[in-house]
Amino acid sequence: MTAIGSGDLASAERQAFGYEALGPILAEFCLRLWLFQRFFADADDTTLLFCARGGLRLQRLYERFLARTGLPAAMAHDNLMISRLIAARTAIERPGDGLLSELGREFAGRPMREVAVALTQRGDIALSLEWDAAFEGERFRSLLAATDDGAMALRQAVASQDASFRDHLASRTQGRGRVILCDTGLYGSTVRLLREGMPERKWYCLQFARANYKNLATPHFAHTRGLSIESDVYLPWHAPTAGLRFWHLIEAALEPDLPSARVFEGSKAGGDLRSNLEVEGWQARIAPDGPGLFAGALAYIDALDEMALPHVAGRAALGWRRFKRAVVWPDRAAVAALSLNDRSRDFGRSDHVAQFAQAGAIGPLARIRDSLWREGAVRRAFPRLGWAGLLVIEAAHTARALRFRGAALRRRFRRETSIDRAPGMALGGGP
């Protein structure tokens, strides 16, 4: 990751932040990942697959963590060249709620032709004019199932790519039936799509963070765990949820400078099946490309040994405090150090979104609202009085979090009360 206007100072600060904050946090993630696979049933029939792109760096961290601490890995693991786009293709033959809701959110108001181009990564398929209508789930389903030449060519192109992915998956799982995906997060679209598209396998997912920020249905959450963060909203009293205030920072630290996996070339029979991500020297590009957040985190992991294990969790708590201070209450130095390049929208498209909304026709408040890191945007827009804005934001989040927790407690109370008062239950006396 490189930052806008990066200099040696900002680079050193990013490295320090990576070492002091992200390093302990990611060490705790690795420890929890090790624990989870240690207790997961039927480890012999399960493969832990680290998902491109962020998962590739998580794999690097995990392997380094195990090597440094001497913890044995019980479960086979490997990488998986996947993206939401590739996962979506597995579900195209029988489009279900998972696929349609995901596409509906990604392509809201966009023409369905755009969805077709994203799925096939081809612009040469002649589709009927009906594909120019704005995306609508049921309409999309019927267009996909149509018998005209364009729809058939589209289905064939998707099926061909999907077959390549299934070959790639088979090469990774080596006959094992259960797959645990390991990815950065948040909603877990990939595992939801795969559970829908390939129900013959058992899919689970371990993420750095799990949050239903999309406000969609969550049938896959029973099989998806956020190892470091598991909350739908930021809770001011729980430091790890500060990760949700600037999620793109964590993603940017973990995503190597490689393209998102979109298509496969070659064949399993020919032994040259590979994704577009696997460009010349791709494995070397997973490593840090100089001082920065990931380099700092990796250096922290490299400094661990077996005797550091008892303190991993405690140091992670300190790491989260540092993270929260920098992200929720940033000073000018933090804003400079934690600035990111534009982030890709992805899902087969090439457009980007800026970390801080650009000044233009919109006013400063709208710019703050539309920024990926609102606290940072406040500090940028109001260098002197920014603290007042940060207080307002924190107060608003506290109120929201209290409402959220209150609703959760009420639901829990109702559930427990209804169980305790179940009709027809024989009630005996106490001691």
Partner: protein, 256 residues
């Protein structure tokens, strides 16, 4: 208070924790803190190993949380095993086998102190045994083995009438899912209607027993005990937020 007139061919089955053996007001949160404190002092006294209580507590909580999460996801009908929890905890605390044994013993020591036998229930069970000669078994959703539960019963209620103990850890099947009842019926060679199950949990001991066609009977702890335990858990959580365990030790270890 208790069901009347079990017939001679009835097998009486009892839950263990908060049915045969009553836990005191301490929440699990507090119990693990007590275990961590005892482990820490024993490790220092017997092995000369310095592990702060906060560090032990935090690791133990981590292990239990991930173990149950993995179990719930990978095999929701099964259960984890105590020895696996101890092994993983010892590994993450960088302890050798002797250190692991101290953790194991500290857990059971705190467990014992927290438990008291439900004498009224034991008396009733003995009366039924004397009257009909019926078989009496214990069925528990716990990560302990039957041998450990038998040991606890023997220490706390030496003349107990329990003929056999079945645990979810041994069967890799829980009452909460109903699977343990089916496994026990198979092993005991019983028809569901022959078994009368007594327990405190409205789901595991009542609803799931009824779903397995057993005859369930619920015994409940007084409301004040349950309320005090909840309050104790809340207090523990507040303390953990105010003074996160393991944090100062992590700072010290870092500066060292």
């Amino acid at each position: 208070m208790f069901p009347s007139e079990p017939t001679p061919d009835t097998v009486l089955s009892c839950d263990v924790f908060d049915t045969l053996l009553h836990r005191d007001h301490r929440s699990q949160f507090r119990r693990l803190r007590d275990i961590a404190a005892l482990s820490s002092s024993r490790l220092a006294a017997e092995r000369g190993i310095a592990r702060a209580p906060g560090t032990i507590w935090r690791i133990r909580m981590e292990v239990q949380r991930e173990a149950y999460a993995a179990q719930a996801m990978g095999r929701p009908n099964g259960d984890i095993r105590f020895q696996d929890v101890i092994d993983a905890t010892a590994r993450l605390l960088a302890l050798d086998k002797a250190g692991g044994t101290i953790l194991h013993e500290a857990e059971l020591a705190v467990e014992r102190v927290q438990l008291t036998p439900h004498t009224a229930l034991f008396d009733w069970l003995k009366a039924q045994r004397a009257r009909t000669g019926c078989r009496i078994i214990a069925i528990s959703d716990t990560y302990h083995t039957a041998a450990t539960i038998s040991q606890l019963l023997g220490q706390l209620a030496p003349d107990h009438p329990i003929d056999a103990v079945h645990t979810s850890a041994d069967h890799d099947a829980t009452k909460r899912s109903g699977a343990l009842f089916h496994a026990v019926l198979r092993q005991e060679g019983l028809e569901p209607g022959q078994m009368l199950h007594i327990g405190d949990d409205p789901v595991a001991d009542i609803a799931m027993a009824r779903a397995a066609k057993l005859r369930p009977w619920r015994v409940v702890r007084p409301r004040y005990v349950r309320a005090r335990r909840k309050f104790d858990a809340l207090l523990g959580r507040l303390q953990a937020i105010m003074h996160p365990p393991g944090l100062s030790e992590a700072l010290e270890s870092k500066s060292a």
